[in-house]
Symmetry: none
Subunit: 430 residues, 2 copies
């Protein structure tokens, strides 16, 4: 048997560029074309030319993904199975180290008045109470409420009037209702938290949260800071109201364990960094990454290249701008950030060895300018790999990619296909 | 209403040709083409021309199938649900008649030494003990160990030093660890088998296997054959070590019951014949089928035609060569076996009535020459049927089929599509 002229079964590393919300629909003022069709983006088109393309439904056809569920899928986790809910995402976003089984809730510091033994919500945000005041009140809560019914309670200040509450212990459930009555219901009482399913865990968790809400009011109503605020004519932050209870699924295994691969995430948003950390991935928001059309793409590239040089096998790069432009119905802004991202991609491609690297172009969802919100339209995908089956497509846009060889795939397929092209496939059988 | 000129809803029979590992990636020394693109294969291309084509992920996109899981899917069974594990496959491969609920394990006859009450593994294969010696020792085991804790125990000699052990009874589980410490751990004790989940069944099964391992040593250590072996300077086969416990799923229904169709499998490998038998299908390895590039394809064809004449409604024909060539990074060998298989297909097509026959071309996975192993790349599929929607594709290869009308399907879809083209569909609803 002659010796092959190539090195067989070499493994490669991968870079995955995620343009948030880049998929679009025909835009009237672009003559019915999409921003991706109009943008000058020679490097993205090179990936399409040298690789294979397709369309991808992040969740399933027609289902509109959030940035959170879209990224869960891009990280290889089925959002229907592993979406932890808003509470844990907010917690992870501010750096709270959560563990499987923990229940986290989003809370507000609010203003309430006691009437006939009920706590009436006067202002859901305590007059948009400042972060430094929230910090002081959270300190008091943590000091006074450490444990309820054998479950550990922790409070963390989040942005502005927001607080994250974490319940840690055995036998908890995220299936509970909100105590926050919602904006339309100001003037009504704090709602009693009730179990949302028929389990002992949900009943117990609801009871604990109700106790914490009552205890928190007792701690806060007499706090010196609130007396000061009232004297100054400000609303007192004398209660917490809770919503969005969620739990890190107990069977969630970290990314490096599931995919046997070490990945780094460079993202412009705390939510994405939070998800990455929940999955046990290393992640950062680079300096100068503003999640706007003017973001510092050179800084983002620098962070990505640093991780690459450190040897991470997969580096995710997230650019937020296209989504912002979609929400703002700003097709020209979308074209511009796509073109700037393409230049970043060009610089990246000069600094890595393309003979040993897989590059994938993806998105977490479409944000069509005519919708001004996320849509369920599939996103274009292009994968270059040193030994991939190249198809005949030569452009990275919604129409061209629909003709590509990858066909129509799902969000969770992408990582598996990339791992297979890295020659690090997931094996099933013998 | 005028009477139609054709006989409506006639049912057809089908032949499914499985080229093991035939899918590939661009091969440098073929100018970036794949073996299927280069091979002269007029008959396969005729199937593509007269039928419809597509790409197929045997399990899911990017996931690398084994020959076993790939064939389970081709036989219409979801591998994630019905993969029985290595033990039952080895058992079925040597013709052990297994039933749902049976636990089967792969065993070695090994050499151990007793030290401080522990059995230290000196040689995992008892010096590669010969098959005729294994047969004698297995006879002794079967005579001495018939039942443990109400569970029937059976031993079967397999190839060389290997033995299959079957546990038959109520309340068993395959979720147990191996007693075989593995090649790297020779010189260490036989491992205690432990339950791998928190069920009574797993605990019980682990305990039974531990008892059998101890009993087997008692039976074998004083066996006259082992005294003879030691006198001759050979290592005694004085223990069995176990691994790969698996169970035929209790809800596994036979093929003819699930698909209301009688199928015959002509295959080059014991594993595939074993799977077919587990599913209750008739199967054989034809004489002269060597599972190499020089295999006797005329003999394979003869076996297939014999089954066809006997009236089987579906005949599977498996050719192993393309997979071997892929593992050997031998694209020219792969081209040659594809071309020889095409000639066999030509002879077949001359001997059957194409007006009444469905012919499908498929594979159990890709084995790219540049990977030298199975990959997660989808395989090309072509289906000819007398009344199928013909698409515009005219060749059977990875690129052309990606443009076909079947799109990107899953492994378990194929049989359903074929049954539908046979006008024997699985009905759902009324």
């Amino acid at each position: 048997m002659p010796k092959p002229k190539w090195e067989a079964k070499k493994t490669y590393r991968a870079i995955i560029l995620i343009q948030d919300g880049v998929g679009d629909r025909p835009v009237p003022e672009l003559g019915g074309r999409t921003p991706l069709e109009v943008a000058r983006k020679p490097h993205m088109d090179t990936i399409a030319l040298l690789g294979a393309t397709g369309l991808m439904d992040l969740i399933e056809p027609g289902v509109r993904p959030g940035t959170d569920t879209g990224h869960l899928a891009l990280f290889g986790y089925d959002p229907y199975k592993y979406y932890p809910g808003r509470g844990p995402l907010e917690a992870a976003g501010i750096g709270v180290p959560l563990r499987p089984g923990d229940v986290a809730l989003r809370c507000n510091i609010a203003t309430v008045e006691e009437r006939n033994g009920e706590l009436i919500v006067i202002d859901r945000r305590a007059g948009r109470i400042r972060g430094d005041h929230v910090k002081i009140l959270v300190e008091a809560l943590n000091k006074a409420i450490k444990e309820v019914d054998g479950v550990k309670i922790e409070f963390y200040p989040a942005t502005e009037h927001r607080v994250v509450m974490v319940l840690r212990g055995e036998g908890l459930s995220p299936k509970i209702s909100d105590s926050d009555p919602g904006t339309a219901m100001e003037g009504h009482p704090i709602r009693k938290v009730v179990p949302l399913d028929d389990t002992e865990e949900a009943r117990r968790t609801a009871e604990i949260v109700n106790k914490v809400v009552r205890l928190a009011h007792q701690v806060l109503r007499n706090h010196p800071l609130n007396k000061e605020r009232v004297e100054k004519g400000l609303l007192p932050g004398n209660a917490i109201i809770t919503r969005g209870a969620g739990m890190i699924p107990r069977d969630l295994k970290p990314y490096h364990e599931v995919f046997k691969t070490k990945a780094y995430v460079v993202a412009e948003e705390a939510t994405i960094v939070g998800i990455a950390r929940i999955l046990g991935m290393d992640a950062e928001i680079p300096p100068g990454a503003t999640a706007t059309l003017d973001t510092d793409l050179d800084s983002i590239l620098e962070s990505a290249l640093k991780a690459w040089k450190q040897g991470y096998e997969i580096v995710y790069i997230h650019v937020k701008g296209p989504d912002i432009a979609g929400h703002d119905a700003d097709p020209h802004g979308k074209i511009k950030i796509i073109e700037r991202t393409d230049q970043m991609l060009g610089k990246l491609m000069k600094q890595i060895d393309l003979r040993n690297t897989v590059i994938a172009l993806a998105a977490d969802h479409s944000t069509p300018c005519t919708v001004r919100d996320h849509s369920g339209d599939p996103v274009p995908v292009a994968i270059y790999a040193p030994t991939i089956r190249r198809d005949h497509t030569r452009k990275y846009d919604e129409y061209t990619c629909s003709q590509g060889m990858l066909g129509r795939i799902r969000g969770t397929d992408l990582l598996k296909i990339i791992l297979d092209q890295m020659n690090k496939p997931l094996k099933w059988g013998a």
